[in-house]
Every structure is written in C-alpha cells, then in structure tokens.
Amino acid sequence: MGVLSFNYGSERAAKARFAAKLDKFARMLLGLTAVALVLAGLGLLYLGSALGWVAVGLAAVPVVLLVWYRRELHRLDVDHPDSDAIDELISSSVLGRLPRDPSPKDIALAVGQVQSGQFLAVRFGMGARFLQEIAADSHEHADEVWKNAINIRNALGVQVISGGILALAILQTLPQHEELLARLQLDMDDLMDGVKWFDHIYMMIETMKKPMHTGGIARDWSFGFTPLLNRFGRNLSLSLSAGRRMSADIPTHEQVVSQVIDTFSTGGRQGVALVGAAGVGKTTIVQALAERLLDASSKVPSNLKFRQVFLLDSAAIISAAPGRGEVEELVNQVLIEAYSAKNVILCLDNAHLFFEEGIGSVDLSNLLLPILEAGNVRMILTMDEQRLLEIGQRNPGLVNALNRINVQPADQAETMAAMEDAVIVLESQHKVYYMYQALKEAYRLSQRYIYDLAMPGQAIKLLEMAASHADDKFVTAESVEKAIEQTTGVKVGVASVGDEKEKLLNLEDLIHQRMINQVRAVEVVSDALRRARTGVRNQDRPIGTFLFLGPTGVGKTELAKALAEVYFNGEDNIVRVDLNQFVSIDDVANLTADGADNPASLTAQVMKHPFSVVLLDEIEKAHPNVLTALLQVLDEGVLRDAKNREVSFKDCIVIATSNAGADRIREYIDRGYDITQFEDQFVNELIDSHQFKPEFLNRFDEIVLFRPLGKEELTQVADLIIAGVNKTLASQKVKVEVDPEAKALLVEAGYDPRLGARPMRRVVQRVVENQVAKMMLAGEAASGSVIVVTKENVERNLSKTNS
C-alpha cells in the first residue's frame, strides 16, 4: 500500500455527495414532482395542448434520479478494492458527508450521521459527541485515520470502509485508547466484532427482502392431505413460507442440519435422534432443516426437496384422546397420514414425552418402534442425553433404530453470534436496546449461574431476564448483573455503591458487634470478602475456604452466622451441614442428592442459595469419603449432584469447624503460648495423629485457631446476650439493666473453660429472662419500665435453680 490519498473531486465522491443530498424528503419531493408532472401533462393533452408532452417528458427526470438512487447511489460499490485512493474504499454514506480536506473531527461528524456509526454508538456507548471530542482537529492527522482504517478493513477481510471502521480508526489515533476502552469494559476486538455485527444484520435484512422460492402452488399436489397433522402438529415449513427466519445458523447447527439431510437422503433407518442438553438449539436445528428443504435454491437431494416438517404436539394429542388406547389409535392414524402424504418429516420435540407414562406424556414405544425400524416415515426425535439413556434402558431396540446425532453446546464465538441475532427479536418484544457489553456479560454470567441449560440458550435466557432491568431502555452489563443478583441473590458486580463499600471497609467492626475476640478469624474472613467484592480474587474457587479449630462455645459457628447476617443478607443465607450425620460411606450420596429427593442435601441447598456461607460443622466426625468428596468444593468450587449437574460454590464462603485437638489448644494457652506461636505445630499434630489428611488441610485458604474465652471476654459475651434480650423486649418497651456486681456474678456462674460461652447463655436465660417473665406476669413491669437486675436477684435465682 502506497501513500493514501483522499480525492474530493473523484467521480465516486461526487456521486456520494449527490446521494447524500437526496435524503428522504428530497426523494419524496421527486416522487411527488414526477406524479404531478405526469398528471399535469395528461391533463394538458386532454385539453388539446401539446405542452402536455413536455410535462410528461420532464416527469422522466425525477424518475431517472430516483431509479439511479435506489439502484446505485444509496450504496456505491467498491470497484477498485486495491486502490490507493481512500475515496474509492469508504462507504458512500460517509464519503458523501466529508468536506474537501477532512480533519479527524470532520470524519467523526460524518460517522455520527450514518447508520453504521450510530450502531456503534448505541451498542457500545460511543456516541458521536464522544468521537468528536477525542478526534483531532488538524487536517494532517487524517492520514493516520485512513491508515488505521485500511488496517482494520484488512483485518476484518471486508471491502468497504464503513462508518464503524472509521470510528475505530479515529479511536486508534488516541495513544491511550486501550485504557479508554477498558473503562467501557471493551477492547478493540469487541469493537471489530461490533462492525461485523452491523454488516451481518445488514446482510440478513437484504437476504430477507429477497423472497424465497418455495416450490409454487402445485408443490404439494402430488402429496396427500394432512388434516390430522395440521390439527395435532405445527407445520414449520408452512410458517416459513411467509418469510425466512430472522437468524443465521451457527456453524455447529449447519453441520448438524447437513448430517440430518445426509441421513434422510440415504436408504436405511429414517429416524434421527438429535441428542443435546436443553438450550443447545435442537428445535432451532429442526427449523433450519425445514427452511433448507423448502428453499428451492438450496442444495438438497431431490427426494428431500420441499418435504415438510411437522412438529407433533403431545399435549394436543393426549387431550384429544383421553380414553385408554385412544392415544395409540390417534397417533397410529397420524402416522398413517404422514406415510400416505409422502412429503412429511415428523418431529417429536422433547421425544421423552412419547416414551414414558406420566402427566402430559404417554408411552408409545410399541407403536413407534416398528415404524422407526421399518423406516417408512422420516422422523426426528429431540431429547437430552439422560432421557435417551433412560429410554434405551427401557427399550434398547428403540435407541438402535435411531441414527444418533449429537448437538454440542455452542462455543463463545457461536454463542455471541446467536445472541446478536436473538437480540433483534428480543428488542422488538421488550422495546429495549441491548448493548454489546450486556451480551458479553450474559455469556460470562450465564455459564456460572444459569443451570439446566446449555449454550447458546443459557446466555439468551439471561439476556431475556435482563430486559426487565433495562436502564433508560438500554440493557447494559449492569442490567445483566442485576438480573442475576435478583434471581440468585449473588452479588456479581464489583462493590461500588457507598453503603456496600462502607460495610466492606468496616466488616470487622460489624462482625464484632456480635462476636467477642477471635480477631484473626474475623480478619481473614473479612479480607476474603473484600477481595471477592473488588474482583481481585480467583473466580474459579469459592470466595474463601476456612477451617476453624477450637474448643466448643468459642464462636466458630457464631462467626459464620454473624457473617451471614452482616453480609449475606441474613442468617437464612447460611447453608449448614452437620457432618456428624455423615459418618458412613453411604452418606456421601446424601451430600449430593437431587433436590427433588432430598432438599437438605448440600448441593440442593447451595443450588438454592448460591451466595451464602456454607458451614460444615464438626468436620472431624465425617466419613473420610465425605471429606474426599468435599475436596473438589474446596479446590475448584464445584460439586456434581446426583443428576450430574455442576453446582457452583464459587460465590460461597466455605467454613468448616472442628473441635479436634481442643484440649491441646487449651493446654498451649494455659502454658502461656500465644495462638500464632503454636499454630503450625498444632496443625502438624493433627496430621500426625491422623485426624485429618494433609491433602485435606492443604485445600483451605486459612486454618484459624480459636482461643478459649477468658472471664473478661465472657463479660463481653454477657453484655451481648443481655443486649439480645433487650432487643427481644424492645417491642414491649421494656428494658433490662444488669448491675456490674450482678454481671460479675453471672460471669462467675457461667464460666466453664471447657464449654466456652454456652453455659453463659444458659445462666442468663435462667436468671435474667426468668425474672423478667415473672415480673411482667405480676404486672410489675409495664411498658416503658426498666427492670434492674441486682446482685441479690442473681444470687436468689441461682440458689433456686441450684437447689
């Protein structure tokens, strides 16, 4: 490529400028002028004036101009793609708006006025003003824009330099453009994808404008009538006769369609099983097949051309034939009709509905098997792998009679392409605009949070959910995040709101409002959450995995509860599994049981609450196989349930607690050691005594030792418990105050170094709560009164309970 030049006076540029002048209004005026001249001319001729010929003749001028515009000017071809003259390569819509010696600012202005530029503005949030602000005003910089545009055009493999390409070229002239794009959560590849997206939509609209040749009025005359099929099925081909589908097929789907055609065009078994998870696009493939068979211009074997695809409706069949044996009779008639018609391909969507007894389903295996084996009627059955296995288990012959074709989930590029097509329909349905960032985010988040669906359906479902969270009619990445946050409760965005930031920064203080001491444990948990909410953590593991070791009653479980209350929207979002119930090898199955069978299983609970604190209590009591099963949770943040679904723990904090070695901790403390001094040694002792395997302990982010509570700390615990009592009594406007001497007595009575804070709670319950209850019943504590608990009260109550 030599030196690029912009020739304002070139023929192409002149044509483009003329086309730009012929805007909608000018074209309408030309049309009206033509009509008026013809009418005036005919009128004059009628009146006998030969001047009418001139008027009729002049009407040709606007007509010629309109024809020229429609057929050439509105989109000038690139006749010299290897030219060094940039005006030969730029799209005519931009070219017509450029001045004689354009600066980058002029180019940006022109780009903002054309569809491809506006498309980028809407989809990426890069409006015309933004481009003009970043574009240089000096004419010398235009060369750099042209060079960038040529490079982008070559990278995309297109002929025309569109407005979108020029927008990118202007952006690239900025040295810090990568940083600028990063702020919009974008990179250059995304923008290039956006240019391709616009071209794709343009091409698709052009294709849709062309009518499809579908065989004409006599197409079906040699084939049979299908009244039953019309009643109990949906003729996909008939709906396509009205117009093409508003989507292009992704390569995976095209491949499968070709495989189906190959199967049907050869002899032998004429049953095809499309096997793939829900959401991979099995029904879309059937529609694509119907379209290809109906399109006279497509390359399809003659024995398949214009064959019609009927989607059989199981619900309609079952409701029309309620009696015993009636369904079989009806389906038999439908099959005879399909066979007689000779041009029918039957599709049993969700085929398991035809092979199992149940509500909305019926077992027709015996009826369908001979037909599938004989290959008299072409049939497509769609189902997922699990259903196929189940059907195969019950009726192996049925599976053998089918040609199995696997439909693989779409990869990222294919999913993006499918989403780009899907948003056209979604936008018209929901009256919103989807930004490109929303599509990217939908792909990323749906992989993680949308269960029971595969790509691309997984991502498209999330896009649909995000429509109701549109901000000012625009569906952004934040809208997608909000959709996930609302349906799963997981906080997927980065903490940015003031309240949340404050909460995260002061997490330790908030937790300590209900936790006494254990500073290190509170600190490590808080750090993990801060890392998660700022996007610093490893996304492929749980937010944090901690093993809390220490004697009973020192706050291990309490910390998990406090964390759930402070940050995970309440104690309800704690998934608690008492591992003392998982002591045998058979209990491993209970850990991963399907939610329908056992809603209390770990996988079922986490599926319901993906953003939660998972508390694995008394882990030392679990069977070793249970701990082995949990290794994957700690390592990769996933666990497969009984149905082989991957349940994500990646938005959970996993806390395991254990009393193992509690006596040793107390011993160390009594000998005057600080916890940090003997932590490593203690963990080694646990491994040496075979209480835990090293590979298990190694999986935790932190192993935290909880120290036994001293009397001073127990006084603070007493304050917390009394504060709790006051909170309960707040609705009755009654307050309890405990004298310092009384409190000291309570602490003395509640102190047991082996049992931690638990006896303290029991003592408060016995002494304080009982006294309050009695006083309220005796009418001694009315609303607004303060009940003071004195030393004497405590002594009296304690002596009563002791006696």
């Binding site: 002149a14 040709a60 020229w68 040749h213 004409g216 040699s222 009538f225």
Partner: protein, 129 residues
C-alpha cells in the same frame, strides 16, 4: 460530471441491474406456477388419495382404490393442465411486459427530449370516442 456518471451507469451497470430485476421477477413467476413440476407430475393422483394402503387390502378394495386413484389422476391432470395454461399465458405476458420495460428503461433519459420534439410537432391525441 454527474450527468456523464448518470448516463454511463444507466446504459452500463443500470441495464444489467434492470435485466437482473426482470429475470428475478420471471424466476419468481416460474417458481409460483411450478410449470416444470406440473409437467413432471401431470398424471399423478391429486393429493395422493388412499395412497400406500393397497399392499394388503382385499381385491374389491384394491379395485375400488384403483378407480379412486384413476379419478384422482383425472382431477389432477385437469387441474394441472389449467394451471399450466394460465402459467404459460402469464409468463408470456410477463415476458412481453419485460421487453417493454427494457425499452422504456432505455428510452427514459430521453423522454424530456422526446416530449419537447412532440411539443414542437404539435400532435395531440384525440380523446373523442
């Protein structure tokens, strides 16, 4: 320059596009009437009445089906003949129309000149019937 551009396109690429449009319209009509298919299936039964049930039927039913199908073939042949005739006529008219359209297309840029010439000639059609 624009006038030259207009004329060079009108009688170059423009003619090709005009022909392409007309051919596409013809192709649509051919597809609509499906005359080739009608010829191929001229005597085939119309809408396949009772097709495919004859293999194991008793003789009397087979005979009845044979006559059913014979009637169906006659109906089919009649229908197809009608459509073939209508189709051929329509396509012929369309072909003539297309030739005229090409002629009008070629003359269109000169219509103002022709109009002026006709004005100078002074002839006007007589509207009296």
């Amino acid at each position: 320059m624009l006038l030259m551009s207009l004329f060079s396109w009108w009688y170059g690429g423009g003619v090709k596009k005009e022909l392409a449009y007309l051919l596409e319209a013809m192709s649509r009509s051919i597809d609509y009437f499906s005359i080739g298919l009608l010829f191929k299936t001229w005597f085939a039964p119309f809408r396949q009445i009772d097709a495919g049930q004859s293999a194991i039927a008793p003789v009397d039913i087979k005979i009845r089906m044979f006559f059913d199908r014979l009637v169906s073939r006659f109906i089919g042949a009649f229908m197809r003949t009608i459509v073939i005739i209508i189709g051929i006529l329509s396509l012929s008219v369309q072909l003539v129309g297309s030739v005229l359209a090409v002629a009008v297309y070629l003359l269109l840029p000169f219509l103002p000149v022709i109009g002026v010439v006709m004005y100078i000639v002074g002839w006007v059609p007589s509207w009296a019937f």
